[in-house]
Symmetry: C2
Subunit: 337 residues, 2 copies
C-alpha cells in the first residue's frame, strides 16, 4: 500500500505555443494534495499518454464541444492512466484502474464527472496498452481501416505519419487484412524501422519529392490512403489515387489539422470515382470491447507489435509532447510516472 | 424522305475561350458533304445538347483519356442526336436513331468508331429526352443520389446549380426519395421557378451571403450535398454539413472544375463523420436501361418534369453554349436543328 502523498507535481501551460510547442511553453509546479470531499477520489497516475490532438486546445479561444481552451497556469489536459488510491465515491474502490481525460499530474483529485473509463478485468494486455494500441489510437486505426478503408486482398494501403501512434498500427492492420502497406515518414532510421519492425512493404521519405516515390511505391495507384496529416501531402496523394480509392481522414489526429490551404484537385475524386471520409472513434464506444479483443489477440499472437516512445517521470512529460511535433517518436508516446 | 443534302453547316472553334466562352469564340462555316466510303454513314442531326463539361477540352493541351483537345478551326465536339439518312455500314439502317459524342453540325459523316448509342425502340419518351433526363444528366442525378447521396426520409438534400440540367432533376429526385430539397441558384425568377416548377422546399440565392441562408433553409444541417459546382461554395457548405453527411461530387459537370483553391475545412469531414465521393455515370452503362425506365416512368406519371432551355437552328448553338456559363438556362439546354 502506497502511503498517501501530501504533495503532487503538475505540468502547467506557461505560455501559449506559437506553432509547434517547445518545452519552454510548459512548467512543472508542486502543490499540496487536498483532503477528499464526499464524492471525490484520488488517483495515483502511472502513465501519461501524449497525443498531438491536445495541441488544439492550447490556443486562446480554441474551446469547442469537446474541451474548453486550456487556461494559462493551469495543468495541461491529456490522457492519463491511474489507480484509485483513496475514494469517497461509492462507485469506485481503491485499486480500480481508470483511464481518463485528465491533467498531466502525478496525482489527480476528481469528482468522477470527468470522462472516466474503467480498464477491463482481467486486463487483455499490459495496462499501458489501453492508452495506445487498445485505446484511441489503436481503435482509430482499426475502425478507420475496417469500416472506411476496407482494403481488399492485394490492394495498396498508403499511411501518412506511418511511424506515429496511429500509423504504426494502421500499417500492420493493413497487412493483416491482406493488403500491401506503404508508409510515409522521414529519416533513414524511422524508414528502416517501418520495414523491419512493422512489416511495411515499401516506404516513402516525406522530405524528398513525393510524386516519384509514390509512383514507384504504388505503381497501380493508392487504393486506400489512411491520412493522418492532411495538408499539401493529401493534395499530392489525391493525384495518385487508384480508381475507386478510399481516403480515410483519421479522427484521432485530424482535429488540429486546420489547413492553411485545401487540396485544389478534388475533381480527381470524380475522375477516379474515389471517396474521402472522416470518422471519429469515440462515437463507436459500443464496438470497443469486440475491437479491443481482436487487437489484443493479434498482439498476443505476435501479429501486431505496439512500438512505444517511452520516457520516465513527470519532468519528461512536456519534452515527450514536444517530441511528437518534432517527429522524434516511433509509435505511441508515453511517459511512465 | 429527306433528299440528300449537298452541303452542311458546322460550328467551329474560332479561338480558345478565355474563362467563360463568348459567342465570338465560335464561327459558323459551310462545307460540302462528301460521298460515303464503305463502312461510313451519314446522319442528319436533330438536336445538339449543350453541356458545360465540354468547355474543358477547348483549352490548349487539355486532351485527356476522354477526348483530345479541340483543334482551332475544327467543328466543336458535343453531344448530338441524329437519324441515319444514308448508310454504307452493315450495322446501321437508314432511319436508325443514334446519339453520339459528335461535332456541332447539321449533318455528320462517321465511320461508326465514335461512341454511338442507339436509342431504344420503342422510345420511352420524346427522343430529345435521351440527351437530358434519360441521358447523361438525368442518369448523373439518379446514380449520384441513389448510390452516393442515399437520402433517407425527411433528410435535407442541398443541390447547387439547382436550375441546371443535372440539378433540376436532382432536386426532384430527392423529393421522390422522400427528402426535403433545397436548391441554390440565382435571380428571383429562377429561384421562384425552382419552387413552383420543380417542387424545391426552399431556395438559396448564391449572390447573397450563403451562411445565413444555409442556416435558415437547413436548420438541422445538410444531410446530402449534391455538388455541381465545387469551389468556394463547397467550402461554405462543408461548414453546414450534418453528422454523417454525404457530399456527392457530380461527375457530369465537375471535370472542368479545376479550382484555384481547395476547401480549407476538410477537417470538418472528420468532426461531422461525413463522406465526400466522386462518381462517373458512363462507367455504369449496364445499369442504364433500368435507370432510364424508372426515370421515364416518373416522367410519364408526372412526378418528374424535364425543363428545357431550347433554341432553334445551328446559328444558335454557340449562343446556347455560352448561355450555360451565364446561367441563362433553366433545365437542360438544347438546340433543335
Amino acid at each position: 500500500m502506497t502511503s498517501r502523498p501530501t504533495c503532487t507535481r503538475s505540468v502547467v501551460l506557461a505560455r501559449r505555443p506559437d506553432g509547434n510547442p517547445v518545452p519552454e511553453d510548459f512548467s512543472l509546479i508542486e502543490e499540496a494534495l487536498p483532503a477528499l470531499n464526499d464524492g471525490e477520489l484520488l488517483l495515483v497516475n502511472e502513465f501519461v499518454s501524449l497525443d498531438a490532438g491536445f495541441r488544439n486546445w492550447m490556443d486562446e479561444d480554441s474551446g469547442d464541444a469537446v474541451l474548453p481552451a486550456m487556461a494559462l497556469g493551469a495543468p495541461v489536459m491529456g490522457l492519463v492512466l491511474g489507480t484509485v488510491l483513496e475514494s469517497r465515491h461509492r462507485d469506485f474502490e481503491p485499486g480500480t484502474r481508470l483511464m481518463a481525460r485528465l491533467a498531466w499530474q502525478e496525482h489527480t483529485v476528481t469528482d468522477a464527472t470527468d470522462f472516466l473509463i474503467r480498464l477491463p478485468e482481467p486486463l487483455e494486455a499490459d495496462a499501458e496498452h489501453y492508452l495506445g494500441i487498445l485505446g484511441d489510437t489503436g481503435l482509430s486505426a482499426f475502425f478507420g481501416l475496417r469500416d472506411i478503408g476496407r482494403p481488399k486482398d492485394g490492394e495498396t494501403v498508403l499511411v501518412s505519419a506511418a511511424a506515429g501512434a496511429v500509423g504504426s498500427i494502421a500499417g500492420q492492420l493493413a497487412r493483416i487484412m491482406g493488403a500491401r502497406a506503404v508508409g510515409i515518414s522521414s529519416g533513414p532510421e524511422k524508414l528502416e524501422r517501418l520495414k523491419r519492425d512493422l512489416g511495411y512493404d515499401a516506404v516513402i521519405d516525406r522530405r524528398k519529392p513525393l510524386p516519384d516515390q509514390l509512383a514507384s511505391a504504388c505503381p497501380e495507384g493508392v487504393d486506400v490512403y489512411f491520412d493522418n496529416v492532411g495538408g499539401p501531402m493529401l493534395e499530392t496523394v489525391i493525384d495518385h489515387l487508384a480508381e475507386g480509392a478510399r481516403v480515410v481522414l483519421c479522427g484521432a489526429v485530424s482535429t488540429y489539422g486546420q489547413a492553411a490551404e485545401g487540396p485544389k484537385n478534388l475533381f480527381q475524386l470524380v475522375t477516379r470515382q474515389a471517396a474521402m471520409s472522416g470518422f471519429l472513434t469515440h462515437t463507436r464506444a459500443e464496438e470497443y470491447p469486440e475491437a479491443r479483443a481482436e487487437l489484443a489477440r493479434w498482439l498476443k499472437e505476435g501479429k501486431l507489435v505496439a512500438p512505444e516512445h517511452r520516457l520516465q517521470g513527470i519532468e519528461q512529460v512536456a519534452q515527450a509532447f514536444c517530441d511528437l511535433f518534432a517527429g522524434r517518436n516511433f509509435g505511441k508516446t508515453l511517459v511512465e510516472l
